[in-house]
């Protein structure tokens, strides 16, 4: 619940949550906190965009409120909904009380007036089902609001978010406008499957998280999976970095590197020989074509004899030798 005093402090605190933040991430996160502006982080899948929000929540000790976006998401799922069933139940249970209130009214108008005086009871916070956005605004303690994969939501939902992100207030017709007690730290993530509207981008600070450098990645692997032998970890990271250089349908991301490292630990591997690679590479690559190409390439790099293949680049390579 503390506010950070500098970017370096954010970095340290994130490190304590086993999140290795680059200078860039820490600085922009700090700016976001100081300016009270949402942070829009983009980048390939699995580079730790969502993790960042989780880690910052843990580091600040704030509650993490998460809104997962999907096509068709609307206000009733994101903001609030009246709890009809509960309202109905209460009317049933309070029927006696209601009839006693209304019983001594002389005419219909008076009864209606009395009923109107009581109607606030039924449209109060009690019957309001809070969805993530409203929860973040109403929260007594400052919170971290994570709006995950905003690019999956429809364009009109984005427009709806604008009011909330710029003023941190919502209007509920029956209750009036509710303003946030504490401005939450907002993190939006996007995988860039479609372009977001300019209006939304304008309201956010922009952070592009790319694949990490090999030193950073090694540090992440060492931090998250300390059981893995340092030498093996270095080799594994090198393989992953090399795979990213290839033209693959889906390049392996950090989360996949970690999965792979875990697999290597589980299998008790001591060396990255071609047998281990063959067995575990499917953790890293999720497309059949990628897998065969990667295996061929890695075998070439480890200097083992290759089977003849149709890859033209490799063919030339062999002639040269």
């Amino acid at each position: 619940m503390k506010a950070f005093k500098s970017a370096a402090q954010i970095k340290d605190n994130l490190q304590k949550q086993s999140y290795i933040a680059s200078e860039e991430i820490a600085t922009i996160m700090y700016l976001s906190q100081q300016l009270g502006k949402p942070l829009l982080s983009e980048g390939p899948a699995g580079v730790g965009k969502t993790e960042l929000a989780k880690a910052i929540a843990a580091a600040t000790g704030r509650e993490l409120i998460r809104l997962q976006c999907y096509e068709g998401l609307d206000e009733t799922k994101a903001l609030y909904e009246w709890e009809y069933a509960k309202q109905l139940l209460y009317t049933q249970l309070l029927r006696d009380k209601l009839s006693s209130t209304l019983s001594d009214s002389r005419n219909l108008t008076e009864a209606a007036d009395r009923l109107a005086a009581e109607e606030d009871v039924f449209f109060s916070m009690r019957f309001l089902l809070q969805r993530p956005l409203l929860k973040a605004i109403l929260s007594d303690q400052p919170s971290v609001l994570l709006i995950d994969e905003i690019d999956r939501a429809d364009a009109e939902f984005e427009a709806f978010l604008l009011e909330i992100l710029s003023d941190f207030q919502v209007s509920i017709p029956e209750l009036g406008t509710i303003t946030a007690k504490h401005i939450p730290l907002v993190v939006l993530t996007s995988n860039n499957t479609r372009e977001l509207s300019e209006a939304l981008k304008r309201r956010c600070l922009y952070l592009f998280i790319d694949y990490p450098s090999s030193e950073q990645e090694l540090a992440i692997v060492r931090l998250k999976i300390p059981e893995l032998a340092p030498k093996l970890a270095a080799q594994a990271v090198e393989v992953v970095q090399r795979l990213r250089g290839m033209d693959l349908r889906k390049s392996p991301s950090i989360s996949e590197t970690l999965d792979w490292a875990k697999a290597l630990v589980t299998l008790n591997s001591s060396n990255l020989d071609s047998e281990t690679l063959d067995k575990t590479l499917s953790v890293l690559l999720k497309h059949e074509t990628d897998l065969t190409r990667a295996k061929r390439r890695l075998r070439q790099l480890t200097g083992e004899p290759m089977e003849p293949d149709e890859d033209s680049g490799l063919g030339q390579f062999r002639i040269q030798n």
């Binding site: 970017a7 600085t27 502006k37 983009e42 429809d154 364009a155 860039n192 372009e195």
Partner: protein
């Protein structure tokens, strides 16, 4: 500093970034917060507030050092200081053999003097640097300045000087040292020129008046566009598509709340004791399926490209698009669009199907389509033809067009020619016209946008 940042922002704008006033305000707030002392932090605070698109990060990284580099040329080493008087005398004597210009230059290199502001300005005037407003010219302009200073001759002169000095019995080791220092100084001068050119170009950029009025371009016919205009329009298409998308999305959303769906209403309200609290509406399948046939012959190229860009920018509002391109035969181009931005994809299609070798054959294209892809058309499909209907007197195959039109939900023809030109020369437009549900004229980007809006209606 503030002025510098404002200049930087206008240079970003000149390079095609859309930086709003609110964003520049954010940038200043961020800088007030974090200060300008640490260069990296300063760079990050500008970048996070001003650039909101991955593709634009490159432009930022290019421009930033030009505006906010330390602005000092690389250090030059003063050789003359640690020469013994005897050595200095010999060198002075050796230099005297060169012409005036080379003498000056060698002197400069000896004393490690950078070029003065005045000299730089003179050089800039000489090579016309004040007109350069593209960063791609930086290297070239710097080289021209080097040429103006006759760097090549200077290099030879250094060699000559060394030879003369060697004859004058100077210690070879010492000589080698002097030579290296002279060369390093020359390289440093080159670097100074390069930096100066970069900064001048950057300033030219920020002083540049905004691009030609975009509204005028939007209303200019496709066949009157230059490649440069086209570049601007390609960027503009993205913005138009975004506007169009929200408009169409809103319309689709509102259209949802049409008819009551009794079944769904009863089902959802069972939990409320069948009291209909939650009303469910029938969700008609409003998202259209599109089949687009684009003529990409020279006359139609721009129109088709912008059209495809628009359609692909709105993929989330369409349930499926199958795109085809043709000149004399049909090419299925949907795979080109997968995982690419629209203008890159269109570019790759255009490279695969170059113009100029053959002429448009609409009839053969239609028969191609009928034999291979007729199954792509069903009763929910909107069939869109983008073309001028000019068929080079080939068989128009109207019968096939009629079949397609009958199978599809709607048939729309987008034609850049006005009605008065149909049927003239090799245009078969009047023969196809009866089978179209709608023929939209789109000769400018504005009209094209309106047409796309209409077909997603």
């Amino acid at each position: 500093m503030e002025e510098r940042i404002i200049k930087f922002i206008s240079a970003l704008r000149a390079q095609g970034l859309r930086v709003s006033l609110a964003e520049s305000e954010d940038a200043f707030n961020a800088i007030n917060m974090l200060g300008v002392h640490e260069r990296e932090t300063f760079r990050l605070s500008l970048r996070a507030t001003l650039v909101k698109d991955t593709a634009d990060l490159k432009v930022f990284d290019e421009l930033f050092p030009l505006f906010f580099s330390a602005n000092t040329p690389p250090p030059l080493i003063n050789l003359a200081e640690d020469l013994t008087p005897q050595e200095a005398g010999k060198i002075a004597e050796a230099i005297r053999h060169f012409n005036q210009h080379l003498q000056n230059m060698l002197d400069k290199l000896m004393h490690g003097e950078p070029l003065s502001q005045q000299e730089l300005e003179q050089l800039a005037q000489m090579i016309g640097l004040q007109h350069a407003n593209d960063l791609r010219y930086q290297e070239w302009m710097a080289r021209r300045m080097e040429q103006a200073l006759r760097f090549e001759e200077v290099r030879e002169a250094i060699q000559e000087l060394m030879d003369t000095l060697a004859e004058m019995d100077l210690d070879p080791q010492r000589l080698e040292q002097i030579r290296q220092l002279l060369e390093a100084n020359q390289a440093a001068l080159g670097e100074q020129l390069r930096q100066y050119v970069g900064q001048r170009i950057a300033e030219n950029l920020s002083d540049q008046p905004p691009e030609e009025d975009i509204d005028r371009l939007l209303n200019r016919p496709f066949n009157a566009l230059s490649e440069k205009n086209m570049q601007i329009l390609r960027d503009e298409v993205r913005r138009l598509a975004a506007i169009l998308r929200s408009r169409v999305a809103l319309r689709q959303k509102r259209a949802k709340s049409g008819k009551l769906d009794p079944k769904a209403t009863i089902r959802t309200n069972l939990k409320h004791n069948s009291v209909p609290f939650q009303i469910k509406y029938r969700n008609r399948h409003l998202k259209p399926k599109l089949v687009v046939l684009c003529d990409i012959s020279t006359s139609m190229r721009y129109c088709s490209e912008l059209m495809l860009s628009l359609i692909y920018a709105m993929q989330d509002l369409v349930s499926k698009t199958n795109a085809f391109a043709f000149i004399d035969h049909l090419e299925y181009i949907t795979p080109d669009f997968q995982g690419k931005r629209a203008n890159e994809a269109v570019g790759s299609v255009l490279r695969r199907i170059p113009t100029g070798y053959y002429s448009t054959d609409l009839g053969y294209t239609l028969s191609n389509f009928a034999s291979d892809y007729l199954d792509k058309i069903d009763s929910r499909t909107t069939f869109i033809m983008v073309g001028d209907g000019r068929n080079n007197y080939n068989n128009p195959q109207v019968e096939i067009f009629r079949t397609i039109s009958r199978r599809s939900h709607r048939t729309i023809w987008i034609n850049p020619e006005p009605r008065i030109q149909w049927g003239t020369g090799d245009s078969d437009m009047w023969q196809y016209a009866p089978y179209c549900d709608d023929i939209l004229k789109a000769a400018t980007l504005n009209e094209l946008t309106a047409a796309v809006d209409k077909l997603l209606n």
